[in-house]
């Protein structure tokens, strides 16, 4: 009995191993530098994306952006967290199937969810602007179209850089545009 609970050495093998433990954020896989890099890559769609940027798939950023999207819609009087979740799941499954059919290397679900989630940022900006102005007018329609094009361009850029499909970027951009178009319908109507 005493051997099983013998002294401090039983619980803490040494004081060094406790200090050698990685920080909590690193254990959880939340890397703020990577999140910042990916966010800047989305905000500047004309900048070339690095090939291995999306290899580190994290869901912290997409989760924050989805919650921000739902929160900004809530400020407009629309409680649509369920629709965001449903459309997100269906869109991710469709893109996962399509990209696995089109690419030679295949793609993981985490990568698809991560890219689509990060590229939702322009839609968050659009829904935030809906708090101040109506999106059913001419300005709103122009802003909506711009946001959808921005999202689809950014997401297709990240996908083709991760999967080496440069000559097929329009073919990847179009289904992304459809997914973000449905999100835009949630925002406008």
């Amino acid at each position: 009995m005493s051997g099983e609970f013998g002294g401090n050495d039983g619980f803490y093998s040494s004081s060094d191993s406790y200090e050698d433990e990685p920080p909590l954020l690193e254990e959880l896989g939340i890397n703020f530098d990577h999140i910042t890099q990916k966010t800047l890559a989305v905000l500047n769609p004309f900048k070339a994306a690095e090939h291995d940027m999306m290899q580190d798939t994290d869901l912290a950023g997409p989760l924050v952006f989805c919650l921000a999207f739902g929160g900004s819609l809530m400020l407009c009087g629309k409680l649509q967290f369920g629709y965001i979740y449903g459309i997100g799941v269906v869109g991710c499954m469709a893109m996962y199937f399509l990209l696995n059919m089109m690419s030679l290397t295949g793609v993981s679900v985490g990568c698809v969810v991560s890219v689509l989630g990060y590229c939702l940022l322009p839609m968050v900006i659009l829904s935030s602007s809906a708090v101040l102005l109506s999106l059913k007018g001419m300005i709103g329609i122009v802003l909506t179209v711009l946001a959808v094009v921005w999202c689809s361009f950014s997401s297709s850029k990240l996908f083709v850089s991760a999967l080496s499909m440069e000559n097929q970027q329009p073919l990847v951009a179009y289904p992304c545009g459809l997914v973000y178009g449905v999100f835009a319908l949630l925002t406008v109507f």
């Binding site: 269906v90 469709a94 199937f97 059919m101 089109m102 097929q168 073919l171 459809l178 178009g181 109507f189």
Partner: protein, 301 residues
């Protein structure tokens, strides 16, 4: 019984412990109970051996059947359930998709030469998704409420049921009429044919014409007709025999055109009704009010 009666004092002599259960059983003169409790001593081993063998045989056969069935199922799944068999149908270039989309509106006269039917699923799948998105747009704009299910579920169900259901029906008819066209070619043909529907739905949603369906019927005839003629031309070039050609061409034309009518009257009509109700209040009723005032004033005079 006589034997048991003789064994009773012998057992009594051998052990000092009396089993009251045995005592009660032994005292009961019922042959049934005693016969059931103790069978014939010379046949009991053989009976249990047969049962054991039968049980083991059953277990082994069951296991063999289960293993064989599992192997067959795994083989069938690896052959047909592997989605990698669809990979060649998504290997396209952007300019090819654009060309095929435009060609879906350009019918060619059927001739002795077979018209090309593409084996591709990317373009048709995108057209179907576009139609779903346009239906959602139309339903959102019309504030169309679905009592059971969701708007997205309704749109998905309608579009995919039409695409796959019509392809299955046409495949069956093609098999019966001996047409040289495969299921993938039919899926591709029907999918690209829905591009006409997308154009009509989009224009019909963006341009509202109240009280009048003429604009819609014009679009229906032009875009729906062109895509229908394209599909009919491809099928006619791959079918021999007048009655077979008639069956296939009439079926695909009817289903294709009626589907567009259904989409219009199921969803877009609601927009028209709403706009008519919202726009009609004071302007329409004014002539009646004016007439009533004139009648009253004449009556007074």
């Amino acid at each position: 019984m006589a034997d048991r009666g003789q064994s009773w004092p012998t057992q009594q002599d051998e052990s000092a412990i009396i089993d009251l259960g045995d005592v009660n059983d032994r005292d009961d003169g019922s042959d049934y109970e005693t016969d059931m409790s103790r069978g014939p001593t010379d046949g009991s081993g053989k009976g249990s051996l047969e049962e054991d063998v039968r049980k083991r045989l059953t277990d082994n056969v069951t296991q063999m059947v289960w293993n064989a069935g599992t192997q067959q199922a795994k083989r069938a799944w690896s052959l047909y359930g592997n989605i990698d068999i669809l990979r060649p149908y998504f290997n396209v270039e952007p300019h090819e998709v654009r060309t095929r989309l435009l060609q879906s509106f350009l019918p060619r006269m059927p001739s002795s030469e077979k018209q090309r039917a593409y084996r591709e699923l990317y373009g048709p799948l995108m057209v179907v998704f576009t139609l779903i998105a346009l239906l959602l747009f139309q339903m959102k704009a019309a504030e169309h409420k679905v009592e059971e299910g969701t708007l997205m579920g309704t749109a998905f169900g309608v579009c995919f049921t039409y695409w796959w259901g019509t392809a299955a029906l046409m495949w069956f008819l093609s098999y019966v009429c001996n047409a040289h066209i495969t299921s993938i070619q039919l899926l591709s043909l029907l999918g690209y044919g829905l591009a006409g529907h997308c154009v009509v739905i989009l224009l019909g949603t963006l341009i509202h014409t109240s009280h009048d369906h003429l604009f819609f019927y014009l679009l229906w005839a032009v875009f729906g007709g062109l895509s229908t003629l394209k599909m009919v031309g491809v099928i006619l070039s791959r079918t021999h025999g007048k009655s077979q050609r008639l069956i296939l061409s009439c079926t695909i034309a009817a289903i294709h055109l009626l589907f567009l009518l259904y989409l219009h009257f199921a969803y877009h009509q609601i927009v028209e009704d709403l706009s008519r109700v919202l726009d009609s209040d004071p302007v329409v009723k004014q002539p009646e009010v004016v007439n009533n005032v004139r009648t009253v004033s004449k009556g007074e005079i």
